[in-house]
Assembly symmetry: C2
């Protein structure tokens, strides 16, 4: 006998698909902003604004659908936890869109400078951030707690890259005060890139909550 099709599953899958579309836009925005800065290309930066608009549209839509779902289905237990996680992940993805736009503004100012080289660690850092974002979303789809733990561990790697980059740029600030603005922009870019990783961490924590019912956000519980 085929398993009975629950109407509620369709709605939850629709919500998941919407979040994944948003996640795709965030990943593209990260790629474009990084290309724009490292290649000093305005056309890549312009793509970030397009993605951010799409993210905002999806953000409003996901919230509307969650409200409808809660009102119509009155879910409990794991379905309720899932919808609450969707609401939170939706907020994080929207703020990630905002962050890519912040990076884009600093990137645009950096493009006006005569500095050609960005710290080489920015590339590795971006790869780590991209891995964390993609993995957090994959973990959400598969409710994969192991993958979430991997995401949480990678946050330290991103922090280390950020520190290395900021330290280099501080040295440059002292030795080359003519390019203060450019170095400050690069510092802000590295710091905001790290904040993207923080949002991926938030998502991983929300997924662990959905999958296990355990809130690990403030170290109250340890997931082994």
């Amino acid at each position: 006998m085929l398993p009975m099709h629950r109407h509620v599953d369709t709605d939850l899958n629709d919500l998941k698909d919407l979040l994944l579309s948003m996640g795709g836009c965030v990943e593209k925005a990260i790629d474009e902003v990084h290309e724009g800065i490292t290649k000093k290309s305005e056309s890549h930066l312009a793509q970030v604004e397009k993605q951010e608009k799409l993210i905002n549209e999806l953000h409003t839509r996901v919230d509307e659908e969650c409200l409808k779902f809660l009102a119509m289905q009155a879910p409990v237990a794991s379905d309720l936890r899932l919808v609450l996680a969707v609401i939170k992940i939706n907020t994080d993805l929207e703020r990630m869109g905002d962050q890519t736009l912040n990076i884009c503004y600093n990137g645009r100012e950096f493009l006006r400078s005569t500095i050609e080289q960005v710290p080489k660690e920015l590339d590795s850092m971006k790869k780590e951030v991209r891995f964390m974002v993609k993995s957090a979303l994959d973990a959400f789809v598969r409710q994969d707690v192991e993958l979430c733990k991997k995401v949480l561990n990678h946050d330290d790697i991103v922090d280390r890259y950020r520190n290395q980059i900021v330290d280099q740029l501080k040295t440059k600030l002292k030795s080359d005060p003519n390019n203060t603005d450019a170095y400050l922009n690069l510092i802000m870019i590295a710091k905001n890139m790290e904040r993207l990783a923080d949002h991926a961490t938030n998502i991983a924590e929300d997924v662990i909550f959905v999958a296990t019912g355990t809130d690990i956000r403030h170290g109250h519980e340890q997931i082994k």
Copy 2:
């Protein structure tokens, strides 16, 4: 005849009270971190960490209560919108706690420098931020859309102070490279202080959504 007492009202009022306690901790953390930096006082900075711990405890508790409320009461219409707003405001308040801690870290590094004076606009900026946070929470309690609009308008004032402070510090970075670290810390403090205002803006937008059912977050709708 006395109006019938609805069980649901008690729970929603409890949720509101918990959020207001959190808001009180956030306000105190902002006061302490500002005192700590402007008076170069470590004891004030230590208070920030205490408040942030309380904020985290309340954050977990509010989320638990919202989950319980949704599961037990299956609210609809304005009660449902209110609970969803509580979940979001809870997230914003918790991130504001994180921000005060970030400001605290930069403040602690600044305390180690020989610079005695912070830009005088930092004081006015902090007052604006405090006004926005307090007003957003008052607006939440009273569902006061007019006050929310005031909060949204004040965000521009905070942005202007931040820009003035950062411009001054950029000039100092160029003229006094021996104190690069101190000026960088002050730049980060001003930027993170401005992010507190962004969170207050988010809260005001959520309150408008509860009070009117209108989502104004991405400029889809205008509240006159």
